[in-house]
Every structure is written in structure tokens, then in C-alpha cells.
Amino acid sequence: MDFKDTKDEAKFRNKCLDWLEKNASYKDESTPQNDDFANKDKIAAAKAWQKKKYDAGWAMLHWPKEYGGIGASSMERIIWANEESKFDVPKGIFEIGLGMCGPVMMEYATEEQKGRYLPAMAEGKEIWCQLFSEPSAGSDVAGLKSKAIQDGDKWIINGQKVWTSGAHFSDFGILVVRHDPNEAKHKGMTFFFVDMKSPGIEVKPIKQITGGSSFNEVYFTDVEIPDSQRLGDIGDGWKVAITTLMNERLAVGDADGADVEDAFRWAKTQDSQGEPLLNNGAVRDSIADWYCQKSGLKNTKLRTMSALSRGDTPGPEASITKIVSAGKLQDIGNFGIDSLDMAGMLRADSMDIKGFQNAWLGAPGLRIAGGTDEILRNIIAERVLGLPQDPRADKGIPFKDIPTGN
């Protein structure tokens, strides 16, 4: 074991750092990052940063040259992300497009379409979103009902999507819909990309329990999509969607927000009946647990990186990341609020208290987004431990005959 970059890795890291230092400033760790990315200034700033990276060749390192990348290795990608994360630069706007829509376009779009859309995506000129979930199709996303009816060389789309991050500022979206409810559930779907400015698309922000709105409902009323924007064959919608969801699992990682360092620092100074809170045995017990979780995730990531660095395929260990970090976030938020005793309900001015309250309010969403705690446990059980699937009530019958409840 040793923890040094290889010569090439070190050289690449220096190159990254060199450019970043010239073009951005280091994060000030004392100001918490604001996750409200929906306002216009933030979008403009994010686009400007993406363009700057694109012009210098840093935007999409692992993409092929013709779409703005340099065909970098996974390791180089991680090194870049590591270094970039030290700098105060905008994030949260392009992740879905570049992380999920891009790879699907790369695999299924025509050469002409790739040339038209991928560089614009990499450059940050156009923002993309992902239109999969529906009101009655969440964890069971293949239960989606939005309809596509073929009409000559175009399709007419009707229905509703939900939980669409960034739909309100996106230019394009990838979309999976049902073209034939008489087919079995996973066979009757087809995949498209769609211009979000198309007539008949209506985007309504969803107000979350945090009070913010990063998701939307998206309504489709007789929206026309040219057949040329179909990705994959008719009926292959699920197969194409799975490609995207696999990329989502890689993209959704650590839950950002208050962590054990914050809890520790807070407990050192917060008064508890005349003593620092950190002297309380229950608090020490929790801090030990959170520290072990945090270190466990960090070291798990290092194991994954070690495999990538060697050119091996990483093991399944990274599958635990979101379950552990979202739960920890919720517990730490809860702890911070409790530490104020009867005053814990007050929305105070302190950055620390805000951090704990935001963690507590935001964590329920993180335990659901990108695979609920329960679905992720099923995935670990079935794909990692090899346990058999549940018997299913929706197999081998036409989609329209599957019981739906309300």
C-alpha cells in the first residue's frame, strides 16, 4: 500500500491545479455552499465557468475529442474532479445533462445529432434534463404511463413527468414514454430526446419541504417529437433508460451538508448545562459512530480509486455511499437542532445552526432521490449478495392489465 500518485498521475494533477489556480479561487471553507441554483445569476455564472473549461479542454475530459473531450482515463477524471472541488466554482446545473443525457446521446444518437448536441452540452451552451419519473412511477419507474402515439414521421406525446431537476431552465430533455400499453410492462416503452421549448410542454416547479424548488412537474399536451429524435428502436425504451440509470447511480454519491466535523466543532463550543456539549457521553458516542461512517465512506472511495488507478474494475463497495451518507446527514442535522434544546425550533442567523436545520430538512429528499434507501438495499441484496428477486405481480401480462391502485 502506498498513497502516492503515479508519475503520470502527478503530472496530470499538477496540470489541473495549474490551470485552476490561474482561473478560479480556492473555496473559503467558512461559507457554506448555497444549493439554490435556480436563479438567473447563478445559471449565467455556471454557464460562463463551463465555457471557460470547455475552451481550455477541461469540460468533459473523458469524452472523445470531436465532442470537446480529450479521451481521458477514469483516473484522470477523478483527479480533475478532486482538484476542481477545492475551488469556489459553480456546480449543480450540468451534472444531469453531462452525467446522464450525454452518455445516452453518445450511445444512441446519429453522428449528425452527436455533432450538433454534444459539444453544445459540453460547452454549457445548452442545459439538459431527464424526464423519467411520473406521479405513479417512482421507484417502479417502468410503471410510467405517459403516452406516445406515432403519426407518420413524428410522435404525439401526452402525459406528466415529475421530479425533473432543472426542467425550468433546461433546453433539452431525455424522455421515456409508453407507445403500447398492450405490450408487457418493460417492452412497451420508447425513448426520445425533446426540445423543452416545444409547444405543449408546461413546467411547474414543486415546492419542497425545504421551501426551495429544484424539481418540477412537467406536463405534455399533444407535444410533437420528430421520429429522428428517437433513441434506440421502438420498444427499446427500457433498455436505453437503464443505461441512463446506471450512470445516475455513479453520479449520486455523497450527501453534501453538515458532517461530523461540523458536529464536532459545534459540540466543543455549545454549552450544555455549564459544560461543553462534547463532554456528554451520548454526544461522544454519536460522534464516534459518525466519524466511523464518514471514514468508512472516504476509505471505500479510496479503494475504488485504487482499483481504477490500476486499471481494474472497482468492486461493488461504492453501492453503500448514498444510504450511509444520507442517513448520517439526517442524524447530524437532528443532533445539531436538539443541542439548542427548547430554542432548537428557531431559525437563527448562525451558519452552523442553519447548516444543521438545512441538513435535517434536506436529508429526507436525499434518502429518496436517485434510489430510495429501500430500493438501494434491494439492489445490494440482489446484485451484490446474489439474493433472488421478489416474485412480481406485473410479469407476463399486458401493461394495461397490471393492478395500479390509486
Binding site: 500500500m1 453538515a258 466535523e261 461540523d262 468508512g296 476509505n299 479503494r303 490500476r310 446474489g386
Partner: protein, 382 residues
């Protein structure tokens, strides 16, 4: 905000064992499997023999007692990482041998704190198995500390009583934590000396023997110095914690594997119980706890092998997460097996017993959590 305590600006690209180390682990696994180590453990438990001498002799022949001992003292001259992979396999098969006492605690102490003469006297015989050692610290039904050690060392003689000493029946020597007018010190005692009496104490895991040792004016040999014995003891424990953690993750993995296999084969209501989410989620939680512990063990192994400055927090982190993982995996393995899991006949209880025993051997979960938070306070992370 999210600055990792000790890893800032350091990038770890090789948090893994080398191919040679993996090969050694594979060989160790094959050996212990072929020797039927798990069945041997059951026999030891049932016969109350406290050790499988035959297996221990074979382990000595393989050279495992000398892994970290330098070649000049007849050892293999390998590192801590090799010791970690062996520990994991011993844990997986519940091998009923005094390896943890003699190697992680006694041998490591001689290597780290013995002077040349002590090394010359002990190390070659530890390799050959002529010397087997253990560590004696506990004296009463509470955690030992620098302020409650009552075994005395005065005028070259040891007096008092230690309890819950592992493997004392097969040990030739013990490292004893004692107090004198100067302070706490560590003393090496030849257990065949006049004035030593050893008595068996019944435990929750009779596959490993634990004993009381009474010292009545017994001659002893100082290791380290006469005042900093407690600090030395703490340091020995901090290092050994990494190796105990590896035994613990080996046992956790074996418990998880048992539970997964059973859940695939056992049917209820017309289908494998492993197809029910109640079981799936339980097993996923075991996998999660084990993965966190394993990753922390990797880091602690690195810290141990390089004597990193954050070894105290790294080893406590590994120890806490490995203890929690093993306790979870071993108890839920019984639960997954239903009524069968509660029978003497099934192996589940042997892992349950060993998980508890290992969680106590170098101090309880609470104490290790406290050590962890204290080490975070000392490194003043925020």
C-alpha cells in the same frame, strides 16, 4: 466544511494489498479450510481443551508466528500488512489458537519495546513456538486504567492477581502491567516460575481459554521503562487493535456468507426467504456495516504499516467499526437462521460467541469510542 480530518491534500491511489499479500491470504484460507479450522473450533469448545495444539503446531511450521520478526531472529521479516491478511483468515475460521495473544500482543511488544538482549532471548523462540506469550492487564470486573492497577512490582518481585488473561495455560510467558512506587511498568514473567498459579475461568466463549494468574513474589524482567508502562500498554493496544479488527472483519464476512447462503436455500411460504425484503434489507445492512469496517481496516493497516501519526484515530476507527460489524453480522446471522440458528448444532453461535469475545479482548466498544473521540480532540480537528 467537508475537509477530511487527516487526508487533506493527500491522494491515496493504492489502498489495497499487493498481489503477494493477496496470495498469502489465499494460501492461508486454503490451509485453514483444509485443516477444518471451524470444526476444530467446535471440538475445542465441546471438549473444553481451550486450544487445538495440532493446528497451532502447523501454524508455527508455516512460519506465521514469525511474520513480523526480522530475519536475523529467524523470522520472515515481513510487515504488518502480511499480519493483517493472516488475521482476517484466522477470524474467518475462528481458529482456536493463541495467535492474537502471542503474536499481536506479546511478540509485537518484544519487537517494539524489547532491548537487544530481550529480542535475542525471545524472538527466535517465538518463531519456533518454544515461547508463547500473552498479556495480563485486567484485575477486576471493570476496565483497567493507570489508576486502578494493583499488581505490584517492588524489589524485582511481582505480587497480585490478574484475571481474564487469554491463553495463559499454553503460554510460557506473560507481559504483566504492574505498578511500583515509580509508576506503571510492563514486566515479562516466565509462567513456570515459582509463585505463579494459573486457574481456568469459565467464559462466554470456551473455544478460547481465559485464566486468572496469581503472582506470589515472582521474579520479573522489565520491558520499556519503569514509569511509562501505561503509555506503552496503550500503544501496544492501539497497534493490536488493527489486527484484532482484521480478525473481526474475517468473522463478519463468514457470518454474512453463512446468512446469505442460508437465505438462498431456506424456503418459506413457497419461496426462498432471501426473496423477502425483510431478510434482504437485514443482509444489506450487514454488508454495509462490513464494508465500512473493511475500508476503515484498510486505512488502519496502512497507518500501522507506516507508523502514521494518525494511527491512534485510525486504529480506533477500525476497531469501533469492526466491532460493530461483527456484532451485527453474528447476531443477525442467528436471526436469519431462525430456530436452527439457536441450536448448538449450527455454527452460528460460535461466531456470536467469538464476536463478543473479540470485542472485549482489548477493551469494549464504549472504551474504544471514547478513545476515538479523545484522539480527535487531541488532533484538534475541525
Amino acid at each position: 466544511m467537508n475537509v477530511y480530518f487527516t487526508l487533506t491534500n493527500t491522494f491515496f491511489m493504492n489502498l489495497d494489498f499487493s498481489n503477494d499479500q493477496k496470495f498469502l491470504q489465499e494460501e492461508a484460507r486454503k490451509f485453514l479450510e483444509k485443516e477444518g479450522a471451524l470444526l476444530r473450533n467446535r471440538n475445542v469448545l465441546e471438549n473444553k481443551s481451550y486450544i487445538d495444539i495440532e493446528l497451532w503446531k502447523k501454524i508455527v511450521e508455516l512460519g506465521w508466528t514469525g511474520i513480523r520478526i526480522p530475519e536475523e531472529y529467524d523470522g520472515l521479516g515481513l510487515g504488518h500488512l502480511e499480519l493483517c491478511v493472516i488475521a482476517e483468515e484466522l477470524g474467518r475460521f475462528l481458529a482456536p489458537v493463541p495467535y492474537s495473544s502471542s503474536v499481536y500482543l506479546f511478540t509485537e511488544s518484544i519487537i517494539n519495546y524489547g532491548n537487544d538482549q530481550i529480542k535475542k532471548e525471545f524472538l527466535p523462540k517465538l518463531v519456533s513456538g518454544d515461547i508463547v506469550g500473552t498479556l495480563a492487564v485486567t484485575e477486576a470486573l471493570h476496565a483497567p486504567s493507570a489508576s486502578n492497577i494493583n499488581v505490584t512490582y517492588e524489589s524485582g518481585r511481582l505480587n497480585g492477581k490478574k484475571i481474564a488473561v487469554p491463553d495463559a495455560n499454553v503460554s510460557t510467558h506473560a507481559l504483566v502491567v504492574a505498578k511500583s512506587s515509580k509508576g506503571i511498568s510492563l514486566q515479562i514473567v516466565d509462567l513456570s516460575s515459582n509463585g505463579v498459579s494459573i486457574e481456568h475461568q469459565e467464559t462466554i466463549d470456551e473455544s478460547r481459554g481465559h485464566f486468572s494468574i496469581t503472582f506470589d513474589n515472582v521474579e520479573a524482567e522489565l520491558i520499556g521503562d519503569e514509569v511509562s508502562g501505561w503509555e506503552i500498554y496503550e500503544s501496544i493496544i492501539n497497534q493490536a487493535a488493527v489486527l484484532f479488527s482484521y480478525e473481526q472483519i474475517g468473522g463478519s464476512q463468514a457470518s454474512l456468507d453463512m446468512a446469505v447462503n442460508y437465505a438462498k436455500e431456506r424456503y418459506a411460504f413457497g419461496r426462498p426467504i432471501g426473496s423477502y425484503q425483510a431478510i434482504k434489507h437485514k443482509l444489506a445492512d450487514m454488508y454495509i456495516a462490513l464494508t465500512l469496517a473493511k475500508s476503515n481496516c484498510y486505512y488502519a493497516a496502512w497507518a500501522l504499516s507506516t507508523d502514521a501519526s494518525d494511527l491512534p484515530s485510525a486504529s480506533a476507527t477500525a476497531r469501533v467499526s469492526a466491532t460493530k460489524a461483527y456484532q451485527l453480522c453474528s447476531k443477525e446471522n442467528i436471526q436469519t437462521h431462525g430456530g436452527n440458528g439457536f441450536t448448538w448444532e449450527y455454527d452460528c453461535h460460535m461466531f456470536y460467541r467469538r464476536s463478543k469475545l473479540l470485542s472485549l479482548n482489548i477493551g469494549s466498544l464504549n472504551n474504544w469510542k471514547e478513545k476515538l473521540v479523545t484522539s480527535l480532540e487531541q488532533s484538534n480537528i475541525n
